[in-house]
Symmetry: C2
């Protein structure tokens, strides 16, 4: 079914076109490879404070950043156990893999979890969530759902939840929206933002970020019984003074500093518009090949595309597309279990510019050509370029 591989393929430059880990700039990698620094030196402590400041700058609000040595999941757990008292009611809004995870996590940790679930690919409903929030302590929600490609309307949901319960603590998984999509937690009344290093920050994995609003900070629990390493009240107190209770992944922090400088070299609005434009170009390329965005409100972090089906065109599976891209040395992703074959996922989330998005459109055309899918050559590239050059 797949055409034989083109002979030039071994010469292809391998690319990470998955929504994290992402392409990392040579300058960032070079920072990582520096002679081993010690995290207690005045230089390292100054760098630590500088990076905390830049993380807040990338958010655009004067939130307090905690850098966790761990994944985004670790960071999310830290936010949860450091803010929500044992046994309290937690509303978990979910419509995909990652938002579901926060529900499982809260249940495991003994919270009284109320789940407001939507099928994968659909959008969360602000009214439905708000209705469950009346007597809840916290709401966990995912802004950009990487498993479905939906950018949920965090602004509307937070407004609705706060309207019925002004004290509710909103913990937002912004793992793939922070530094990518419009995000105004101060104005939107979102209390906690969670992300990680291997997404928009275009740094190798290993760091999670938690950013607390002033109000959330005032609600942090002292000596949470639900965690020791992830006690972010103690972490934040220490980190404000450039003291980390545990040893941080200091090389990654130096690397992150370099990556953040690139993102902060333009106003946030320009950064958001640019990442949206790149992702819109990927969706337009997919559209020209008969694919459609799984979500009607797509996140700019990743194009989650349903391959062509029906009306005389043979069905292509998401796994097939990802495999065809892998055959071309391009690392994309199929869907997330149990929807592996429903969609495929391509992204220019990391160290990639609009011309790389154009290149990915070309890659996608060649993958669909290898899969024997009928389309007019040049359609995807032209569609992408119309978006990019507009």
């Amino acid at each position: 079914m797949t055409k034989p591989l083109a002979p030039h393929i071994p010469l292809n430059r391998p690319r990470l076109i998955a929504p994290g880990p992402v392409e990392v700039s040579p300058a960032t990698l070079l920072a990582l490879a520096q002679p081993q620094m010690h995290h207690r030196t005045p230089q390292a402590r100054a760098k630590f404070l500088e990076v905390r400041g830049k993380l807040a700058q990338l958010l655009g609000d004067s939130f307090e950043a905690v850098i966790v040595t761990g994944s985004g999941t670790a960071a999310f757990e830290g936010a949860l156990v450091s803010l929500v008292p044992a046994g309290a009611k937690v509303v978990n809004a979910s419509a995909g893999k990652f938002s579901e995870r926060w529900g499982e996590m809260a249940e495991r940790l003994g919270y009284a979890v109320v789940k407001v679930q939507k099928p994968w690919g659909e959008l969360l409903d602000a009214g439905e969530i708000a209705a469950a929030c009346k007597d809840a302590y916290a709401l966990t929600i995912t802004h950009s759902e990487t498993s479905t490609g939906a950018l949920h309307d965090l602004e509307a949901i937070a407004a609705a939840a706060k309207a019925v319960n002004p004290d509710i603590v909103i913990i937002a998984d912004c793992v793939t929206s922070y530094g990518v999509a419009e995000l105004r937690p101060g104005a939107w009344q979102v209390d906690v933002i969670v992300s990680g290093s291997q997404k928009a920050a275009a740094t190798p994995p290993g760091l999670g970020f938690v950013l607390f609003s002033p109000e959330a900070e005032s609600k942090l629990i002292k000596n949470t019984p639900k965690g020791f390493y992830l006690d972010l009240e103690r972490e934040l107190r220490g980190q404000k003074e450039a003291n980390t209770p545990q040893t941080p992944a200091i090389n990654l922090i130096y690397a992150l500093d370099v990556s953040l400088d690139r993102l902060l070299s333009v106003p946030l609005e320009v950064l958001w518009a640019e990442k949206k434009r790149q992702n819109d170009a990927l969706i337009a390329a997919g559209d020209a090949l008969g694919c459609r965005s799984w979500s009607g409100r797509p996140t700019p972090a990743v194009a989650v595309l349903v391959p062509p089906a029906g009306s005389g065109v043979k069905r292509i599976g998401g796994k097939q597309v990802a495999a065809a891209l892998a055959d071309m040395n391009q690392r994309a992703l199929p869907g997330q279990a149990p929807h592996e074959d429903t969609v495929f996922r391509i992204s220019t989330l990391g160290y990639a510019d609009r011309y790389d998005a154009l290149a990915v459109a070309g890659i996608l055309e060649d993958a669909f050509s290898a899969l024997g899918h009928p389309f007019e050559r040049g359609a995807a590239v032209s569609a992408a370029w119309r978006v990019l050059s507009n």
Copy 2:
């Protein structure tokens, strides 16, 4: 005249799109950064021999490779002084900056130089060159002239020269054709091939290569009075045994090994076809913007393009185009002095694939748009993609 820079430009990924130094793969850079090896260890000596073998493989003929720590010019000088006896007659065929350099070099070294010159941008004439070769000891010629973008017909020229003088030693500057353009020195009766690390070999600068045919090897002069460091007779004897008389840039040789593996992962015909396709795409993109290739027989190493002029369209200078590209963080080149403004030069010679060539077409469109040049948006990208996806 130039439009204000687009706000997203600081987010552009800087690219080397000049014909050397070129983009280098992360794997190659990593090899360069290894713990300092010593060139006299058995491992380093084995690596040295391996790389010499791969250099011959990239040529496709069983020539003997000498690795010079120095530039391509050093390598060329080594070939000249190690093969041509003092005062002998040397025919210098030139039609651009680099071929002219070999004439100057031969004169400085005291050879009896006969110059067969063509204006820049034109093609060398085999008959004209052959007529000068009758009683010459050597012919110096540039295969791919990076200053004009011409790929001279080395096969025809060598055949004509050998027809009138079977003993003539043909030293070919293949700095930007080796590993890029069809090159069959055995069949074409070319005796010596000269190149360097920062071109198709996609390695940082610092190494020159000289490849000798068996016959050329037999003509090497012992103890040439014209050079000590560049005495390649002694070098070749040593290098065959993995002994270098002087200390080589051993880290660069380890890095080169990684880059050569990539190039040798496909048959030479595939590599040549792929680089030609990429460069043809750049020329097609330029064509769609009103540019034309300076040479009627373009080298696949670099697109040397004359910007639009006349018939109602305002003249754009080569320096302007290069500057507009530099404003976008893309390192291209204007023409070479004294033709700086006649042309601009763009290239995907190094670690770049066909999708990078598509990206460069997009970059070129945006540069011409910034210059206020009228054209139909999408024309250059579509033209490039037609070549690349064909």
